[in-house]
Amino acid sequence: MSAGAPDHGSEAPLLSATRSQGERTAPPPRSQVEVPGARDERKWVAAARGGPTLEEAEEGPWEVVVALERWRPSVLSLVHALRFRLATLWGENAHGGDVEVHGIFLGGAECRGVHLRVDLPGAARKLPSLLPDLPTALYFERELSEMFGVTILASPDTRPLLLHERHTAPPMLPAGGEPTGVRAPFGFPRTEGEGVYEVPVGPVHAGVIEPGHFRFQVRGEEILNLEVRLGYAHKGTERLFEGLEPSQATVLAESISGDMSVAGATAYALAVEDVLGVPVPPAAQTARGLLLELERAAFLMGDVAGIILDVGYAAGAAEANVLREQAYGTLELLTGSRLGRGAVVPGGLARPVPAEARVDVERSLDAVRRGLAGLVDHVHDQPSIMDRLRGTGVISLEVAEALGMVGPAARASGLVRDVRRDRPYGPYVHERVRVRVASRSEGDVEARFEVKVAEVLEACRLARHFLGEGGPATGPLISSRSARPRHGLGIVESPRGEFLVALRPSEPAKKVLARVHVRDPSFLNWPAIEYAVRGNIVPDFPLCNKSLNLSYSGFDR
């Protein structure tokens, strides 16, 4: 087992992060720039601009344009001095074959964030890499390179990310390249030495699992290294949004990660409402909150079931799946769809949630809450289960921070971010909604298990709260206003963590979508599994995998 696993000998109460982190390296020094009050987002932008970094030009309230040679220093100063984090990076086609690169940087509570843009002239399309100083940027840069033909200068890894075949041209450029059927080379790192062997797994896995390829380098039973190759579920979804009317694209947003349909649709709806200035009736917001929390409960029950199953306790997993079915049945009662598909639309809800379902929903929520509490007590009493979870698949806080992880997996490593609390949206804006964010510090499978259990219970509590506030709610039709930023941003705490949609409607009528970028939480979290399994044994891989429950389709789109 991992030599670096934390000591679990003592039984200190661990409601939140109380265990010492051992020899953690000190965090980088805080900003030299004066940090303004977190409430005032304009000052944040001003500080960023007045600091050592950003150029003067600004378009719209939050879009700041930087010159190409200032890109790298600006970003690094935002991240390292001002303590923003890179939430996403995407490309867009501009006039004359130029490519714009946009980045969203989010701070902590109450800060709307900074939107940076750098323009790459069509002739060259070269961008200096943010690596090695900003590891989060790697996947974004690789995607930019293959999708927009941007040359990333001085990048340590220029392999393709989502495309497995060569294309006649980068597929996201206006002309849109086609797949040629010729497979592009992809090199896996090799490990050599006595007794070292490789285990290739996938893309077709041994269960009902999405496609992806894992390449393990193993000595005995110990995993020395894992490299994950993704892209097997790539469908070119972002391109499909283009040219659609906002009301027609909801099904695409739901199909980024189908097991988080409500979160995907809500993030998309928030982005559309943001850019077009669509008001949403408060009752619709509350109903969205109810659906979001129900989806979270159902989803995370699945993770709880999966972890219990992967230690070989089938009866306990079946028990968890009874509760999971209950949650999906409740979602169907409210929306007509077991996954809540087709329920959330820009402007509100497609149809009101039926008021007569209330008693049934309350009863189900109580059943899930009681059932899970009992099951977890029972599981805690089984040393043969807890022994497998404890110290397995450790992700340290340093790794979580460097990768920019989000969601329950980050919170289990002591990186406490939750969009519902830090950047309240829709249903969570109301001051009476207080999200109690669960966290642990150990970063092992047990910590992720406990965090997810706590989040199901909290989701049931919040759902009950929203149920009490709820009422019939359908939204108005979309009408556009002109004085808005070019881009709309929708950020939602999905069951896997921060789900982000950035979109731009066509100018000037804003009738159709010109560019939609979706960043699933798994896009940030996938690399973590490569760290989690190091030094673990191969038979514990399913546990590491299930406790992280990463979305392949969300990553690949």
Partner: protein, 321 residues
């Protein structure tokens, strides 16, 4: 160490920090040593049986959402509002007014009910009907004339799979069927419902249907997803690795038509037609009961309900007209 040093982690909304940061509901490790009295931990295993009766008994229709669009040509005015609202071109219409030709393809439908909401005449209704699986893709398409009568002149439905083959499948597999699931680029919504077949609520194993880890052990492949370019080869290899005789169950709008992704250059637009006996299961995703029905249809244990895109005249005990 809470908040990881991000600038806003100090609570700036004037709340007691413990309330927002610790989770009182989070169970503590210390608890596991307490000797708690034995409590009821099992609502499903030792408690009452939660497995649903379907397909041996009736489905719990009353608890299901009505999502399947049903079109009545008699009241249709041919406005085309449905076709404009449909996100996947499952409904298309040629011409306008009475006499317009409407085509409704359950294989492309994502069951969003936008057409039902858009229809000004009430010609489209959402019904509780999920036994939509068919043996031939042609049976998924309804062709109506606005103002005409239902099933006025249906072309004869010809079953692509001969009676002999159907009987052989039934004889070989109906006692025990080993299924290998292959995700050919799905959004993973279909995977949720496929995994639900193993939950106590649906428990496909009680029907002799079990999921296996290798195509070498399989009698049938359950394919989801639009067959994107990156999974084409893997799907072909999995198919080749499955021993004959075998058949296919293609689940979800994606596998049948490409679903929401049908226009992408990166997908093939569904599983290409083959000589293998196949069952096509509409849905986005198909609900677990719909998948159970599809397996029973493949095994010849139930009759096909949807013919030429026409639902049976009675749905859920009530007449459609």
């Amino acid at each position: 160490m809470i908040g990881g040093g991000s600038p806003g982690s100090a609570t700036s909304r004037g709340e007691p920090s413990a309330d927002r940061e610790a989770a009182p509901s989070s169970p503590s490790r210390a608890r596991s040593t307490a000797s708690a009295p034995p409590r009821e931990t099992t609502s499903g295993i030792f408690g009452p049986c939660t497995t649903k009766a379907y397909p041996q008994g009736p489905a719990e229709l009353a608890r299901m959402g009505a999502r399947t669009p049903w079109h009545d040509p008699g009241v249709c005015e041919g406005t085309g509002a449905c076709a404009r609202a449909c996100p996947t071109e499952a409904i298309t219409i040629e011409g306008t007014g009475r006499g317009a030709r409407l085509r409704l393809d359950y294989g492309a439908c994502v069951f969003c009910r936008k057409c039902v909401d858009a229809c000004p005449t009430g010609a489209l209704r959402a019904v509780r009907f999920f036994e939509l699986a068919v043996r031939s893709k042609d049976d998924l398409v309804a062709r109506h004339v606005a103002g005409g009568t239902l099933g006025a002149n249906p072309p004869p439905s010809q079953d692509k799979v001969s009676r002999e083959v159907r009987e052989r499948i039934s004889r070989l597999f109906s006692g025990s069927l080993a299924v290998r699931a292959v995700d050919a680029g799905s959004c993973n919504g279909c995977e949720v419902e496929v995994s639900a077949l193993s939950w106590p609520a649906y428990d496909a194993e009680r029907l002799g249907i079990h999921f296996v880890a290798s195509p070498r052990h399989a009698d049938a492949l359950l394919v989801t997803g639009p067959v994107n370019r990156n999974m084409r080869l893997a799907l072909q290899k999995t198919l080749d690795a499955t021993p004959d005789p075998k058949f296919l169950v293609i689940a979800g709008a994606c596998g049948i038509s490409g679903g929401p992704f049908r226009r992408s250059k990166e997908v093939e637009g569904g599983v290409p037609p083959s000589d293998l006996p196949s069952v096509w299961v509409p849905g986005c995703p198909p609900r677990p009961e719909a998948l159970l029905y599809a397996f029973w249809l493949a095994l010849g244990r139930v009759e096909q309900q949807l013919k030429n895109g026409e639902l049976p005249p009675k749905v859920g005990g009530s007449s459609l007209r």
